[in-house]
Amino acid sequence: MKRWFLALVCGVLAFSALGQEKIVIRIAGHSVDKPVKEALIRDVVAPKLPPNVEVVFEPVVDDYKQWLLTMLAAGTPPDIFYVDVYWAEEVVRTGRVRALDEFLAKSEILKKEDLIPVLVQAFTVDGKLYAISKDFNSLVVFFNKDMFDAKGVPYPTAEDDWETLWDKVRRVHNPPEWVGICLNPDFARFLPFAFAAGMPFLNPDGTAPFARPEAIRAAEWFSAPIREGFGATAADLGVGWPGAAFVEEKAAVVIEGGWLIPPIREGAPLMNFGTTFLPTIDGRRGNYLFTVGYGMPVEEILPSKRPDLVWKVIELLTSPEAQSYILSIGHAIPSRAALLSHPVLASPADPFQEAMRTVFVATGLPGTVPFSFAPVGSVYHIVVAEALTKMFTGELSPAAAMQEAAEKLNKELKR
């Protein structure tokens, strides 16, 4: 009996000694990223790390922000986590996310200047950078060239303004085969146009800006396809989202981001389509920057206790090599400015690469703002979404709906 016990103790000791040598760096990300991230870790990251360091990707199926907040609160976060620009500031305000400036200052591989400025701005809170953008997206106009050819309508171009674009969409509308545009009452599509028209995020006195003439003008324009009948919502077309209407050739135009490229590649690989920037209003353009970055927790709760190694992994994940790898498999649009000279973006070979180039360039245009609602929070877009729904269903006129949204937000802001 004693001998058995001794053997067991020796075994445990030996095992724990082995465990001390091995360092595991855990990255938690969206579950959809699993195949790509695992390939990236295997092919690009792991070879450059010491052999005793293992990088593991842990997919999160839950609502990511909810998961991360509870992990940070419990003091059990992973070594590297995703930070979405949409809630970056909220998570930073917990005080459990580490600022990365000190690492960035010392880094050989990654400099602030390498990154596209708006991406740095997106993750900067009170002058400190909290996440390194891994990739990004912004909105562009997708159009089906065959449908425009069939109706003899010129393609949308970068020169189009609000009126000329709607004019083209009206002319390409061809029910019941296809609608001019598939458009949802989506605040993430509407707000960039409202900002372009001159609506501020909040009025100078801190009240809701939705009743301003610029906002109402944007609402009237944005809801015109549905109110005047040259467009339809995704639900009206029997699909889950506008992108699906485009892939299934039920709509000639949609306003989407680079995330529509993989579905087209899979669902309609031979589609003859083009992409261009969002239309202008009085020469101004708006857009949203959607981006996710890598962040790390503060040292007290960093599971591996090795911030230097964790930073090294972040560097490798955003290195030029890793980013051209992501770009060449067409997964997403990476965050380094220098990649514009990458062959995929410099001389696009097909509509898919062209679309990536359009998204890449569109992000850098003036008027692009991070997709974030700090410091107001989600009530800001909840009231906008309700207003859009009401004007899309005809319950209220655009002016009345925006007026109501302003009143609702003002009430929430007072609380």
Partner: protein, 367 residues
């Protein structure tokens, strides 16, 4: 302390040992969580900064929040309407399925299917059904275009049945108004008549625009309750009725045969037997069904959460969803104090509603 000696002590020791796992889960998942939430409901807390005692501020803030009051109204109306409807429907279905009819097993299985499906999946399918160009509006359009056919069918049905029953009674037969054999004949006759009318172009479909009711993406109200909430009620009733029906079916097996025989000897009609024998005998089951229904509907969360992606927040917010929304949905750091206060309020409310029901509604005892 004599009871603590000998075999008795042994017994108590083993009893507690076996109860330990249950105590453990009860302690951690219920008692600990409950008292933690109770404490937090009196604190200002956001998961990150240490909780600060705030007295009844959170409760005061709850009642000053129009969204909470709306959630309270929604939860109460949801509970009352759904519990009433689902109990009545489940009872009717159970009585129907308790008869000796052909294909009984098939119908029992078919009616029970909605309950074994995941409520998330049913919810998603439901969202597709309620699209503007979805199945629900399509069926309504068909009915609207062919409403003359429907009316003529129903009219003929009533007419033929009435004539048959009169004819039967005149011949001295003890026929009831809804005699099944006559009903089959009337159904056939009404169908045939409608078909002939429409073939002779006496009945023509009225060209009407398709029904365009927006079920979920709207803030419009009907009888003071938002339309999306009505839709969720319909969904909830559809998915819970089968389970409740099962309880009633089990209860129906236990109703003593002798009571029916005695009632028949006294010349009771089917309706009288249902009203004076079946329903009183089922009272304990009905108490269970109503109590479970009230608890389930007051705590309804999943269906509100699924439709929250489509419907406006203020049209579907219920108390349980309000708790979640304060914790994770509102943006900013979690408002743990408000969420806990709302959760405690919901628990107390559930208890009170169930007690009131027991006091003034259906009791546990049969007779």
């Amino acid at each position: 302390m004599s009871w603590l000696k000998g075999p008795r002590r042994n017994e108590i020791f083993w009893a507690f040992l076996f109860l330990l796992p249950l105590f453990w889960t009860l302690g951690v998942a219920f008692a600990y969580a409950f008292f933690r939430a109770l404490w937090w409901s009196f604190c200002d807390y956001n998961l990150f900064a240490p909780p600060e005692f705030a007295g009844f501020t959170n409760y005061a803030r709850l009642f000053a929040d129009p969204r909470f009051l709306r959630a309270l109204f929604h939860s109460l109306s949801f509970a009352i309407i759904v519990t009433f409807t689902q109990t009545s429907l489940a009872l009717l279905l159970a009585i129907a399925l308790n008869q000796k009819i052909r294909g009984l097993t098939f119908f029992r299985a078919a009616f029970y299917t909605p309950s074994i499906l995941s409520s998330v999946i049913v919810g998603l399918i439901f969202i597709w059904f309620t699209y503007r160009r979805g199945v629900v509006n399509f069926l309504l359009s068909v009915v609207r275009t062919h409403h003359l056919h429907v009316l003529s069918f129903l009219g003929l049905l009533a007419l033929v049945q009435f004539m048959l029953v009169c004819w039967g009674r005149r011949r001295g037969l003890p026929v009831q108004v809804l005699d099944p054999v006559y009903l089959w004949v009337s159904l056939l006759a009404a169908g045939l008549g409608t078909w002939v009318f429409s073939h002779l172009h006496i009945l023509q479909p009225k060209p009407t625009p398709p029904v365009d009711i927006i079920w979920l993406e709207t803030a419009e109200k009907f009888l003071g309750i938002p339309r999306p909430l009505w839709a969720i009620m319909a969904l909830n009733i559809g998915t819970t009725v089968p389970t409740m029906m099962l309880f009633f079916l089990a209860g129906l097996q236990d109703v003593p045969r002798e009571l029916y025989e005695a009632a028949e000897l006294d010349g009771a009609s089917r309706w009288a037997k249902l009203w004076y024998v079946t329903i009183p005998a089922l009272r304990p089951v009905m108490f269970l069904v109503i109590t479970l229904g009230l608890i389930g509907t007051l705590q309804m969360f999943d269906q509100a959460a699924i439709t929250s992606g489509v419907a406006p927040l203020d049209s579907i917010v219920t108390l349980a969803y309000y708790v979640y929304w304060n914790m994770f949905g509102a943006g900013g750091l979690p408002r743990v104090g408000m969420a806990s206060a709302a959760a405690i309020f919901l628990a107390v409310l559930t208890l009170v509603v169930v007690l009131i029901q027991r006091r003034v509604g259906v009791r546990e005892k049969a007779w």
